[in-house]
Amino acid sequence: MKRPHVSLRVLRWLCPILLLLAWEIGVRTKLFPSSEAAAPSDILRHLGSLVRQGDLPRHAVYSVLRLLVGLVLGTVAGMCAGITLGTRYSLDFVVSPTIQFLAPIPGVVWIPVLIMVFGIGELSKVAIVSVAIFFLIYIHTFIAVRSTATEYLEVAAVYEKRSLERIRDVFLPAVAPAVFAAIRVAMAFAWVVLFAVEYAYATPREGGLGWFIANERGFGRIENEFAGVLVLGAIAFLADRGIAWIEHRAVQWTNTLQTTLREVTP
C-alpha cells in the first residue's frame, strides 16, 4: 500500500500541535476563563504527577476493562442475534418488532433498569456497555446477513455444508466487515454510557475515568479534570487504532474505502 506523502504526515502531527498551541495561548491571554479551562502545559504537568501517584492509571484500567468485557459480550451477542434472526424468517417475524422498539432507546436510559437487575456492582456497568453495543452490532450483522450472506448460503447448500461450517466459512466472514464498522461506531456510544454510569454509580476506589473526571470537576481541579479527559481521548484513539489493525488483518480480502479513495484521489 502506498504511504501518504511526507507533507501529509507532517501535517497530521501539526494539526493537534497547532490546536494545543491555540489552546495554550487562549488560556494564557485569558481568552478562555481559567475556571473552565486549563493550559495544556499545566495539564501535562498535573498528568505527570497523577500518573506517578497511580490514581489516574488505576481509574483508566477500570474503565478499559469494563469497556473491553462489555465490547466482547455485546459484539458476540449482537452477532449471534443478527445471524440467527437474519437466517430464520419466522423468528425474525416474531422477535424483530420488539428489537426495533428497543433499539432506538438511548443507552443511558438502560442504566437504572440494568442496575435494578444486576445491582450497583461491576456486572451492571459491563451490562450497560454491552447493551449500548449490542443493538448496533445486531442491526449491522442482520443487514449484512440479508444482503450478502444469503447469496453464499446457496453455495454452502450445494456443497452440503453443516451448520458449524456455514457459520465459520460463510456467515462470520460475510458479516465481518459490517461488524468491524459497527464496533468502531459503537465504541463512541459505549464511552458515553460508561462515563455516565461511572459518574453516577461508581465508588472512589473503583471509579473509572468517568468518576475521576466528574469528581475532579466537582472539586474545581480543572487541570486534573482535563488530564483525565486527555487520557480518555488517548485510550479511545488507541482502541480505534487497535480495532482498525485487527480489521485490516481479519478482512484482508475487502477493498476498503480508504484504499479506493487513496487510489482515485490526489
Binding site: 447469496e151 453455495v155 447448500a157 450445494v158 456443497y159 452440503e160 466459512d169 478482512v251 480480502w253
Partner: protein, 267 residues
C-alpha cells in the same frame, strides 16, 4: 435402464396465474452434455436451480440414478452465473470448500485441481485479483473437485472474451474427459452450445417449454469444423423463425397493446 439424471418438470410457477415452466422432460447420461438455449427470463436458471435442489415447489421430479432428489446434494454441482466464489477465501481455500469434510490432504488436492485448470501460480490469490477467465476456471475447479455425478453450468462463459471463453471451454472438456459427469449447461451463445453439447434444446419463454431439440456433431470436434457451422446456422435460423418473430409479433405495432408498452418490449 434409467439415465444418470432424469428431469421431469410438469409445471412450475412463482404465482398461481401463469406457469413459468411447462412440460420439460429430458434424461442425461454420464459423459453427456445438454445445452439449453433460449431467451432471457425464460426460466433457464430456475430450471438449473430446481435440478440443484435449491427450488422445490414444482410439479415433477428430479431423479439421480433413479433416486428422487429432494434437497441439494454434492453429487449435483452448480456453477452459478456470477460464479459466487467466496471473496474471503483465497483460490486454494475456495477449491478446498468444494471437498467433503473428511477429504485427506485437502491442500494437496486443491493445488492439484488449481494446477489442472491452469492457475498453479494463483494458488494464494484473492478472487478479487483474478480475471474473468481465471474466476470461471476456479469456479469449475471448485465444482469438479468433489467428482460430482452432475454438473450444472449457468451461463459460465457469459462475461468472457473470446480467448478466455475458448480457454475455459478447453479446461472444462479436459476435466470432463478425466472425470465424466452428466452436464446441463445454459448458454446464450449458439456457437458455445454446438461446440460443447451432445444435445441442444431451444426453449420458449412464458411458459418455458422445449421448441426444438438438436443432436450435436460427432466428437472429437474442432471449432473450425464445417459441421459445427452448419448446425449453428440451422439453430440460428430456427431462433429467428420460432423466437424472434413471435417475440416481435407479441410486442409489435400490430399487437393489441398500448404504444408505451411496445417501446418497453422492443428495448
Amino acid at each position: 435402464m434409467s439415465a444418470l439424471l432424469d428431469v421431469r418438470v410438469d409445471s412450475m410457477c412463482y404465482d398461481s396465474s401463469t406457469n413459468l415452466i411447462e412440460s420439460i422432460t429430458f434424461a442425461v447420461d454420464q459423459g453427456e452434455t445438454i445445452a439449453i438455449l433460449g431467451p432471457s427470463g425464460a426460466g433457464k436458471s430456475t430450471l438449473l436451480r430446481m435440478i440443484a435442489g435449491l427450488i422445490r415447489n414444482f410439479e415433477g421430479s428430479i431423479l439421480l440414478n433413479g433416486v428422487p432428489q429432494t434437497q441439494p446434494s454434492r453429487r449435483i454441482q452448480l456453477v452459478f452465473q456470477n460464479y459466487r466464489l467466496f471473496p474471503w477465501k483465497k483460490a486454494a481455500g475456495n477449491v478446498e470448500f468444494g471437498m467433503p469434510r473428511d477429504t485427506p490432504a485437502k491442500d494437496q488436492e486443491a493445488a492439484n485441481w488449481i494446477g489442472r485448470v491452469g492457475l498453479a501460480d494463483k494458488l494464494n490469490a484473492w478472487p478479487k485479483n483474478l480475471s474473468g477467465g481465471e474466476t470461471a476456471r476456479l469456479a469449475l475447479a471448485r465444482a469438479l473437485v468433489g467428482h460430482p455425478d452432475v454438473l450444472l453450468l449457468d451461463e459460465p462463459f457469459q462475461s468472457l472474451d473470446l480467448l478466455s471463453r475458448y480457454l475455459v471451454q478447453d479446461v472444462l472438456l479436459d476435466a470432463l474427459a478425466n472425470a465424466p459427469a452428466a452436464v446441463v449447461m445454459i448458454s446464450h451463445s449458439v456457437d458455445d452450445a454446438v461446440f460443447l453439447a451432445d444435445r441442444i434444446f431451444l426453449v420458449s419463454r412464458r411458459p418455458m417449454t422445449v421448441l426444438k431439440s438438436y443432436y450435436g456433431v460427432q466428437r472429437p470436434r474442432r471449432r473450425s469444423d464445417e459441421q459445427l457451422s452448419v448446425l449453428a446456422a440451422t439453430i440460428k435460423r430456427d431462433i429467428e423463425q420460432c423466437l424472434l418473430r413471435t417475440s416481435i409479433s407479441a410486442t409489435g405495432p400490430s399487437a393489441v397493446q398500448p404504444a408505451t408498452q411496445v417501446r418497453t418490449g422492443a428495448e
